[in-house]
């Protein structure tokens, strides 16, 4: 091999190696299922929200005359990850509003609304509007996880199994009766090398 060939080969190898280091960005469809590891991701959130809203809309949970008014409480994060569960409640609320089967009051804005009504003055108007802020049903739940890791042994990869479960309940405020309850589950196994560069 000539010196020139060696140089060309070296340049070629260097270029090949460097292409792997180049930064890149691509658009991803939010509805697609993308997982890099076993941890909770936006794909999981979309899947469990879809399952539970389908379940809730699939049956009549309230038999009163008018369209029921619902207040959504936080989903308690009982996992071992710092997950913002407000993303789950926001998506469920959106899906239920768009269905037209439920009306909502904003728990977050309730104090602001009360203050605004107080500013407007008329006591009768306040009382009427406060009644309007009352809810018929409460939607609440919890997100849980169970995680198992392979014990430390001589091996090249470490496996991790994670199970997630989102439980939701719809409770009648007047009677305390649970009108609907369901859960969505996910289980995933991931493997990562113990030795790296």
């Amino acid at each position: 091999m000539t010196l020139r060939s060696k140089h060309l080969l070296s340049l070629g190898l260097a270029a090949f190696a460097l292409t792997g280091c180049a930064a890149s960005t691509r658009a991803v469809d939010p509805s697609s299922d993308i997982q890099y590891d076993a941890q909770y991701s936006f794909s999981d959130k979309n899947a469990i929200v879809r399952d539970l809203t389908d379940s809730l809309l699939g049956r009549a949970a309230y038999s009163g005359g008018e369209t029921p008014v619902l207040v959504v409480y936080d989903v308690a994060n009982e996992t071992s990850e710092h997950i913002s569960t407000s993303g789950i409640t926001d998506d469920i609320r959106l899906a239920l509003i768009q269905s037209g089967r439920y009306r909502f009051i904003s728990r977050e804005q309730r104090e602001n609304l009360q203050a605004e009504l107080a500013e407007q003055g008329a006591a009768a108007q306040q009382a009427a509007s406060a009644r309007k802020l009352g809810a018929d049903l409460i939607l609440a739940g919890s997100l849980r996880s169970i995680e198992k890791q392979q014990p430390q042994q001589w091996r090249l990869n470490r496996k991790r199994l994670v199970y997630y479960s989102l439980n939701l309940e719809l409770t009648d405020i007047q009677t305390g009766e649970i009108r609907w309850a369901d859960k969505a589950e996910l289980a995933r196994e991931s493997s990562r090398p113990i030795i790296g560069w």
Binding site: A76, N77, E78, T79, S80, E81, H82, E147, R192, P193, I194, I195, G196, W197
Partner: protein
Amino acid sequence: MHNEFAILARPGLVALALLWLSGCATTVFDHARALHHSGQSEAALAQLQAAEPEIPERDRLLLLLERGTLELYSGQYDKAAQSFVAAVDYIEQRDTISVREETRALLSNEATKRYTGEYSERLLAHSYAMLSFLLAGRPASAAVEARRASKRLEAHPDALASAHFTRAIMSLSFESAGQYNDAYVAARALPEASLPATTARLAARLGSTDPQTEVPAALQRALESASGELVLVVAVGQVARKHSSQLVGVDWQIAFPGYASDRQTLPSTRVLLGAEEAHGERVGSEISTLARRSLQARAGRLAARQALRVATKHRLIDELRSRGELVSQLLAFAILASEVADTRGWYALPARLELWRVPVPAGATEVIVQAGSAETSVPVTPLAPGPVIKLVRF
């Protein structure tokens, strides 16, 4: 064989450079720690933040832990929580063996590797994250850290057997988040009678009685007349520092980290309500003891790596000396001198951490906390519903 070791001669220079550079970050941390331990945490934080660009990536974990501690004691609870969570994530993401780092350490020392923390420090990162979240008014996030701490305790049961402070703050985190079953389990994992009132209260919430828990009469009376609960997190002294021990031969040297055999004598603590001793629950951990046990727990693996490094360096030094050139001789000396122990550690930690749960009667205005002859006053009016947490340092 000679050529193989000749290839390693150049990395020897790199090892020398790394040895020289490793001193810079240690100095930055030491200055900040000295200020923190003298009660000037805000000044220490400002100094550490100014020096952050100088701190190498291999000391990233130390930066997060030290910065989190300073933020906590400066009253920046949300920032402290972020730093500790980042530290926990860093530890979890870097549990792989890096071929590049191991090769470099083989030619120099363990301090050239990324610091991933002793088992005790890894656990305490969760404890401090819980504390930061609780002080920031985010009990649900504190409970997440409590679950992560639980896994850490399961992973190293012997080394972390005396981590009672962590279990107590786990119980507090779960209870504050309304997860009473987990709170009860964490309280029951403590030595008997550590948190008798808490255990009994949690058992009652779960609809049962704890047959093994007997609340002392004085504590029961204090609970009955209490209008609120004060949780005191009392830090005493400074955690023991690792030092480097060395065995030196003609052309070989082994350095290994250790702790001084003499134990610190720490003052005992008391909590007073007015002139009388308060009746409360107290759980404590000797952090220096936890650190010693953690180092002992990985002593076998450390010794195996040292043996391999000494053998490699010995062959390399032989190769360099056989050349007789001045540069080779200097390089051989540098490789020998690069054998120093990794004595890095989270030294902003105290020597002892205590968690007190003190029932406070209506009308009380202050609680006095004493450690030996030193004392500090903690104002307690008005106590909000639920436990109110205060940090105290001696």
